[in-house]
């Protein structure tokens, strides 16, 4: 104790304290930003390659510095990507939504245009622009550790109003829609919750913990695996399609047999 007190006025003390303070804030920052903490290690060459890909494929809409861009009428061509994080890129590019092609109410899924390596590089570049949600760790995608029943509860309360209880998708206002979610890769489900693409709300750590998200993924996987024990599912869209089926297929079969019987009796 004494020794410490004696050195208190050592000229290096200030520097040490400054360093310690810096490390502490940095550590605190990292601790408060768990997503960046789990971040995949991207190398500088990933970031460089990503930037090149970005300039070639994305900059027309998102701007050369990824800060977003508007057309002369003030319409957004592409929003700023600073701080959206690697998860957003992995989701948007991994499901084929980006690079966007068709301008409609909402960017649709389509076959992927970037391979896995390119997607990773793009993610590295966007992640380097500012901290944001990272691509989830394997741990949170491992459904053998998840609880499907809890996931089902979470899904029914938080997601079913847009995505339908059976995960078959549903309509939102003005031509927008929530797509089907059964059969979507677990990683993309996680990232969708984490980044809230377009009209989907963001479900961040405080809303749904990584464990909760894993449970949701486990539930969706269980739905997919169970399939439709009752036979043809008619798109799992519920009573409307069932009614349509009754009025078309079943009624024609019945009328057909009535007419056939009538002809037989003659």
């Amino acid at each position: 104790m004494k020794a410490l007190a004696a050195r208190r006025h050592h000229p290096m003390a200030l520097l040490v304290i400054l360093l310690l303070a810096l490390v502490a804030t940095g550590g605190l920052y990292a601790a408060l930003q768990p997503q960046t903490a789990q971040a995949e290690a991207y190398t500088d060459s990933d970031v460089e390659a990503g930037e090149a890909l970005f300039l070639a494929n994305c900059a027309t809409c998102h701007g050369l510095d990824a800060a977003g861009q508007t057309d002369p009428d003030g319409q957004t061509l592409g929003p700023s990507l600073i701080g959206v994080g690697a998860a957003a890129v992995d989701f948007q590019v991994g499901t084929g939504r980006m690079p966007m092609q068709h301008s409609g109410a909402q960017a649709r899924e389509k076959p992927q245009q970037m391979n896995e390596e390119q997607t990773r590089q793009l993610a590295a570049y966007v992640a380097s622009l500012g901290p944001g949600p990272a691509v989830p760790d394997e741990e949170w995608l491992d459904t053998s550790q998840g609880d499907a029943t809890r996931g089902g509860e979470i899904f029914r309360i938080n997601c079913a109003m847009c995505h339908n209880a059976a995960g078959a998708g549903g309509a939102l206002t003005r031509g927008k829609y929530a797509p089907p979610v059964v059969g979507v890769e677990g990683k993309h489900v996680y990232e969708a919750m984490d980044t809230g693409p377009q009209n989907m709300p963001v479900f961040n750590e405080t809303n749904l913990s990584p464990e909760d998200k894993r449970d949701v993924i486990t539930y969706l996987e269980a739905l997919d695996e169970t399939g439709s024990p009752g036979g043809i599912s008619l798109g799992s869209l519920g009573p409307v399609t069932e009614g349509l089926y009754a009025w078309t297929i079943i009624l024609s079969l019945l009328i057909g047999s009535a007419v056939w019987l009538g002809a037989k009796a003659k």
């Binding site: 509860e153 079913a160 206002t173 031509g175 009752g230």
Partner: protein, 557 residues
């Protein structure tokens, strides 16, 4: 095992005759005790006309029988209790979930009881088919005017059966206690509470306190398996007895008049056909139920008032009641501290008016026509243009409500905006039925005009003859007597003038119904037309020498 009768001691070793004799003895046994012979003979000799459009009533009957059979199976395993239990069955995605006994027992039927899922699906598909058949049957009766005297009462009984069918379906749909069925009940609760003054009490009474409570499932169960089916069964019996008493209507035709029925006797021909049809309906519903999923309530999950899923809709026959609620703007106002929810009351009033129109139509039409005669011939729909137009308008209105209730699914399927669709349906709810009425009426009138020409002048053959004087005449093939009879046998009503006991309202109504009517062919007209045709034929024969072939055809032969 052989029967000995004093008169014939000879024992036959021939199995066939023994069987016959057994039957005869059995029949005799029943005859002597029930004096059934008279009844059987009476019933067996009843005649049923033959037309596929008369099979819809039977279709409804047979699906009801399937409902009874499959429903009885379900009652053996279903437990109508809202007691909370933890699900531990084989469906992994719900293991450990707290559910009601009703939900759990439905899950048991679906996943553990042998054949349970098939029976559940049969029960539900049969319910949908039952209501489809009822609707088609009802509109067959409507468009052929088979509701006219003396069958108005039977129309009302059928109407009640349709309402009871909806009640059966809705109460059944609510039993499994899943999210979808709970949402349906919540809407019913909301509608009930919107009724001024008594609404809240009604809801409290039905649910035994605040929604959802713990009483509703047991109560609905009693309604669903006892009250409603018993009422349906009773009314079906009366309905059928009345069909026998009134005899079935038939389409006009040679020898088919207002005073007879042409068809097959109930036994054996009609009976065999009906039995065959029963097995076909049974077979088709079983086939569908074995291959096509319906109401996968395990995905909807146990009822909990917080989640509402996208695509939450009732079964098809209740869709229309949801449509109005989706279309109406959120109109509400507060008076003396009470909220009056016009957004609920107006749709309910519209539904009531639509149903009242259907129920009362026979009486409205009889009042307009002033027709007090009995009618046993089915109208061809085009011969009653205004009735047919009104019926089509009703269906269009109903259909728009059904589509409105499916607006979210349509928006996705057609990639349209749900907001635009709502406006489209709001406008078409008013415009659609009016358009449908005029288009249908015009179509009926032109068909009538065409048939009238056909009856008078026969079929055009598109062979034109130039006579010696240079006239061009088309050869018409006259109809045979039978075909002509079908075309000219229909009623004629005229608009009435007000006064002389005719109120001005009724005069207006008759004018609405009959002002554009097309005169049926009168005997004098027919005579004149036939004379004219005879004359024309004479001229044509003179020009062609009786050979109607074209020159080209003559070359070929």
């Amino acid at each position: 095992m052989t029967t000995t009768t004093p008169s014939s001691r000879k024992q036959s070793s021939d199995g066939d005759t023994r069987l016959l004799r057994l039957g005869a003895v059995g029949g005799d046994f029943l005859d002597q005790r029930l004096s059934g012979a008279g009844f059987v003979k009476f019933f067996a000799r009843k005649v049923f006309p033959d037309h596929w459009s008369f099979m819809f009533g039977e279709m409804a009957l047979y699906s009801f029988v399937i409902l009874l059979i499959s429903g009885t199976f379900l009652t053996m395993f279903f437990d109508p209790s809202m007691e909370e239990v933890v699900y531990t069955g084989p469906y992994t995605a719900l293991q450990g979930e707290t559910v009601s006994r009703a939900f759990e027992s439905t899950m048991e039927i679906a996943f553990e009881v042998k054949g349970g899922l098939l029976f559940r699906q049969m029960h539900h598909w049969a319910a949908l088919v039952f209501m489809v058949a009822i609707f088609v049957h009802m509109f067959r009766v409507f468009f052929t005017g088979a509701f006219r005297k003396p069958r108005e009462l039977n129309w009302l009984i059928g109407f009640t059966l349709m309402i009871l069918g909806m009640a059966a379906g809705f109460s059944g749909y609510s039993l499994p206690d899943d999210v979808l069925s709970g949402n349906g009940l919540r809407i019913a609760d909301g509608l009930m509470k919107a009724i001024p003054i008594v609404g809240t009490y009604l809801s409290m009474l039905l649910f035994g306190g605040e929604f959802p409570g713990t009483d509703i499932i047991p109560r609905l169960f009693t309604i669903h398996i006892l009250l409603v089916p018993a009422a349906i069964l009773g009314l079906i019996v009366i309905h059928l007895v009345l069909v026998v008493v009134h005899k079935h209507t038939q389409y006009a035709g040679p020898g088919r008049t207002n005073r007879n029925v042409v068809g097959h006797p109930v036994l054996p021909v009609f009976g065999a056909k009906a039995g065959g049809f029963f097995f076909l309906v049974f077979g088709i519903i079983t086939l569908i139920s074995a291959t096509t999923s319906i109401n996968a309530m395990w995905v909807y999950g146990p009822y909990d008032p917080s989640p509402v899923s996208a695509g939450s809709q009732p079964d098809w026959y209740m869709l229309w009641t949801d449509g109005g609620l989706r279309l109406i703007p959120g109109w509400e106002f507060t008076i003396f501290g009470y909220v009056v929810s016009l957004n609920m009351l107006i749709p309910m009033a519209i539904y009531g008016a639509m149903l009242a129109f259907l129920a009362l139509f026979p009486f409205i039409e009889a009042w307009v026509t002033g027709d007090d005669r009995e009618h046993h011939l089915a109208d061809k729909p085009y011969n009653a243009p205004v009735r047919t137009g009104l019926g089509v308008a009703w269906i269009v209105m109903y259909l728009i409500l059904v589509l409105a209730a499916s607006n979210d699914l349509i928006a996705i399927a057609l990639q349209l905006s749900i907001n635009d669709l709502t406006w489209l349906f709001r406008i078409s709810f008013f415009v659609g039925p009016v358009l449908a009425f005029y288009i249908t009426k015009r179509l009926c009138l032109s068909i009538q005009r065409h048939k009238r020409d056909l009856a008078l002048h026969g079929q055009e053959t598109s062979r034109i003859v130039r006579t010696g004087s240079g006239d061009m005449i088309e050869i018409h093939e006259p109809l045979n007597e039978y075909d002509r009879w079908e075309l000219i046998a229909h009623d004629d009503y005229r608009p009435l003038k007000a006064g002389k006991g005719v109120s001005s309202l009724r005069a207006k109504a008759t004018s609405f119904f009959f002002k554009d009517r097309i005169e049926p062919v009168t005997p004098a007209e027919l005579r004149a037309a036939l004379e004219h045709a005879g004359h024309e034929k004479h001229v044509i024969d003179e020009a062609t020498g009786g050979d109607y072939r074209t020159p080209a055809e003559k070359v070929v032969h």
